[in-house]
Symmetry: C2
Subunit: 146 residues, 2 copies
């Protein structure tokens, strides 16, 4: 597999979004972002590292952590945590919840209407002001969904 054949998937917005935050575009950051866009299975930092290394053999795990953190900071990627497991990364920016399959260990996105998030926030007692809501399901999915 050569580098030339794969489309550059990131919407070119990367360099722009980075610049907006006063950050530079680097091969490492672009590649990490590409990897997240191209296989949206909520990989861990280790998994991203493994996917990125063949393309950029010199990259270090610390850099993968740095890049992921940067992408989260720029609102290009979301960090997803489930119980005490390693943090997973998700380039889906639409409002959605996560479904953790107890059998396969896989994580699936579940798109939800924004009204539902709003409704949830409205259930908060007075004085509580939420700027984020996270919803996580745990259970079994019928074979290979998503």
């Amino acid at each position: 597999m050569t580098t030339a054949t794969q489309p550059t998937r990131h919407p070119a917005g990367l360099a722009q979004k980075l610049a907006d935050s006063g950050l530079r575009s680097t091969p490492q950051r672009e590649l990490v972002y590409d990897v997240l866009l191209n296989k949206r299975d909520h990989p861990t930092a280790d998994e991203v590292f493994a996917r990125v290394k063949p393309e950029l053999p010199g990259i270090s795990l610390a850099t993968v952590y740095n890049c992921l953190e940067t992408l989260v900071q720029c609102d290009l990627v979301r960090a997803v945590n489930f119980e005490r497991g390693p943090t997973r990364y998700c380039p889906n920016l639409r409002p959605h919840a996560h479904f953790h399959d107890e059998v396969t260990g896989q994580t699936h996105d579940v798109d939800l209407p924004e009204t539902l998030f709003a409704q949830l926030k409205s259930e908060l007692p007075p004085g509580f002001n939420a700027n984020a809501v996270e919803i996580t399901f745990r259970g079994k999915a019928k074979s290979s969904a998503n």
Copy 2:
């Protein structure tokens, strides 16, 4: 503060619930459970350890972890995770969400109608069968609520 004055808060159900699971009642387990019932501020294992040690100076941190795990197994306590922070423990068994105050770091229970949990589950695409839903809010609370 002496030991004698505090009421034994656990509903005596502890020994029973433990027995139901083929487990034994021990001073360590009772004390850990008491501590959770008496100050419901979602303590970490370390915090539970600190609260328990004055009463039972010989107790070890490993035992606190073991006891907490046991209580979770018996459905007397729920483990609560927020991002990568240490696991917190919550004896509130009613259906509820958690609100993490970004300013104080405190965690508050937010009771929610069961209908809401049901409604959420009904939003899942066909083939997804959830047996648990977790809802977490992040934001600011007006001073000392809860």
